[in-house]
């Protein structure tokens, strides 16, 4: 159960500062600054929640995370982590955060325990403290038995768990998880989801999660920002974002393609039906009340002798939210932007 977090009022904000405060970040790449990776990204994350940055590949999620973790610098704009400026107070920011990058980050030629020990010592733990903390984390992530094995012998899921363990070695206040489940099999992904949920519910850590999986954002994030082409196009709880879309989505598959637009014309006249998209024999529309509209739609089609092969009705999904705000479907955007980035 996720309890929707109420938006903090001005007065509350001063007493409980935000875990993350991102204002108008701009980042360009290339000699002539021709690639605009971030085009004014702003969002605020209250402490103790899982915040999702959702967007297709190349939308600017990783760039945002790199700036927040002091890896990269923004051209303009400011970002604060636990009240600390990421550009001016780098060293203290680094102690407050953990970072799990898209590309793992474990040394394959060292054992799981050695990876953790080195990280612990770098953060200033004594040998004893580091050992204790490493044991704790190995145990928590079910890696105790593999602790003495070289990481290159680990499965993908085990490596990912070790990545997260490494990010937690110094008990950070904010953990950045950049695409943590990309490339994992379904079982390992379910495991990882459970771990991420525990981070905020049990440990009280603020988690910034980037993902291009809609269902991942829907399930884990109590608040999210949808990023598209270097901008935040929508922000809120998954429920509130979906609630902005009134009604239900209806998809009608006809036996024959609607070549003359006859079916579309008939459906448009049904009360409460809008936003009709036709693609061959598939019609998609938004309706105010699915249970009332569907029988009416079927009736007019039947009267006109147009054969229907199936009808599906669904509650609005994040995909619909994305379609509304970015003007294209998530899959299309993901493929197009991935191709552009390559």
């Amino acid at each position: 159960m996720t309890v929707p977090t109420p938006a903090p009022t001005r007065a509350q904000q001063t007493s409980t500062p935000s875990a993350l405060e991102v204002v108008d970040l701009v980042k360009t790449y290339g000699r002539k600054k021709e690639v605009r990776a971030l085009d004014g990204v702003s969002f605020t994350v209250p402490p103790g929640i899982v915040f999702g940055l959702l967007g297709p590949n190349g939308a600017g999620k990783s760039t945002t995370v790199k700036i927040l973790t002091t890896l990269s610098r923004a051209d303009t704009g400011t970002a604060r982590v636990m009240g600390l400026d990421v550009a001016k107070d780098q060293q203290r920011v680094r102690l407050a955060i953990g970072y799990v990058s898209q590309k793992s980050g474990t040394d394959p030629e060292a054992t799981g325990r050695e990876n953790l020990m080195l990280a612990g010592r770098i953060y200033g733990l004594s040998r004893g403290q580091a050992q204790h903390r490493a044991d704790e984390l190995l145990n928590r992530f079910g890696l105790t038995e593999s602790a003495g094995r070289l990481v290159r012998t680990y499965s993908g899921g085990m490596q990912r768990k070790l990545d997260v363990a490494l990010g937690l070695i110094h008990r950070p206040q904010v953990l950045f998880l950049d695409e943590p489940t990309t490339g994992l099999d379904p079982e390992a992904r379910a495991d990882m989801w459970a771990e991420i949920e525990r981070l905020s519910t049990q440990d009280g850590i603020t988690v910034l999660l980037t993902t291009h999986y809609l269902e991942e954002a829907d399930r884990l994030a109590s608040q999210l920002a949808i990023v598209d082409r270097g901008r935040v196009v929508a922000e809120g709880t998954p429920a509130s974002l979906k609630a902005q879309l009134r009604g239900d989505a209806v998809q009608i598959d006809l036996k024959e393609p609607d070549l003359d637009g006859h079916a579309r014309l008939l459906i448009e006249r049904v009360p409460g039906v809008g936003e009709i998209h036709v693609q061959g024999a598939m019609l998609r529309a938004r309706v105010e009340d699915g249970s009332a509209a569907v029988p009416a739609v079927l009736a007019v089609l039947d009267d006109a002798g147009i054969a229907v092969s199936s009808v599906t009705m669904s509650r609005p999904s994040l995909d619909d939210v994305y379609l509304r705000h970015a003007g294209r479907s998530f899959d299309t955007a993901d493929r197009a932007d991935a191709a552009r980035a390559a």
């Binding site: 159960m1 973790t69 009240g83 203290r92 793992s104 050695e114 770098i122």
Partner: protein
């Protein structure tokens, strides 16, 4: 769900004290040494190769000492310090692949988001390379002795030879690291090093007395750091070393190593900017 656990403190708690540059360099050095020790193939071949050169070239060019004007009477004694230095040079070329693997794997990014001292990332890696090159040098010297090389200037001559090998290694490891950080390609790195290392070896006195080479080779050798290292080593190993020669060559070598190491930190910064 309890709300009490959700309230995180406003600012970072009193930060633990991550160690200084030396402490961090120690951690990073240990990490790389452990990794090297776990690659037995690499270890064996990096020792086998100089041993083969020493014995092969030692036999092949045995007669060179009979040429009028050659400065030594035993070719194996002449060749051994040359092979120590050549091994240092050739091993150094691979140094940058460590950084490339760390970058590809994401280890570099994770390190850079931690409070690790930036200098320690470079110094620790260099120290581990220098250590393994030092061990290689000792073994090559021992093989040379076993093959019949004898020196008057011991043990100081050995110290100078190994010191020169380490300085040269620091310089060329730094160069390799810089090329790796700038090109970020394994092929480019290895290609550039193969292109550079052979001329550097042959335009020096590693195998041949420059007095018997064409003038231009002797001239080129004078500006070649590999030659500085070999000349300093041989001089220190001789019966009555001219310490001025050792000091000059050693000094140039030190200056060269420091300059290239400094340049490699610039390459590191350029990498950080490109992230």
């Amino acid at each position: 769900m309890t709300t009490a656990t959700l309230t995180a403190p406003a600012t970072a708690a009193v930060p633990p004290a991550p160690g200084g540059l030396l402490t961090h360099t120690g951690y990073i050095t240990a990490r790389w040494l452990r990794g090297q020790a776990r690659q037995p193939f690499f270890l064996v071949f990096s020792l086998l190769q100089p041993a083969i050169w020493l014995l092969l070239f030692g036999q092949l060019f045995k007669g060179i000492v009979n040429l009028p004007g050659f400065s030594d009477t035993s070719y194996i004694a002449y060749l051994t310090p040359g092979i120590v230095i050549m091994t240092a040079l050739l091993s150094s070329g691979w140094s940058g692949t460590n950084f490339l693997m760390d970058i590809e794997r994401g280890v570099m990014d994770r390190m850079l988001t931690s409070p690790v001292k930036r200098g320690a990332l470079m110094a620790g890696q260099l120290a581990s390379q220098a250590t393994s090159i030092l061990i290689q040098g000792v073994i090559v010297l021992l093989i040379g002795m076993a093959a019949g090389a004898r020196y008057d200037g011991v043990p100081l001559g050995f110290v100078v030879t190994l010191g020169a090998a380490v300085l040269l290694a620091v310089a060329f490891c730094s160069l390799s690291n810089a090329v790796a950080l700038l090109t970020r390609q394994h092929n480019a790195l290895i290609g550039i090093f193969q292109f550079v290392s052979l001329p550097l070896t042959f335009l020096s006195s590693v195998m041949m007395d420059p007095k018997l080479s064409p003038d231009w080779v002797a001239t080129a050798a004078r500006y070649n750091p590999v030659d500085w290292a070999v000349v300093a080593s041989r001089e220190a190993l001789s019966a009555s070393p001219d310490w001025g020669v050792v000091a000059w060559r050693g000094g140039f070598l030190l200056l060269f190593a420091v300059t290239v190491a400094w340049l490699s930190t610039l390459a590191f910064r350029s990498y950080q900017r490109s992230v």
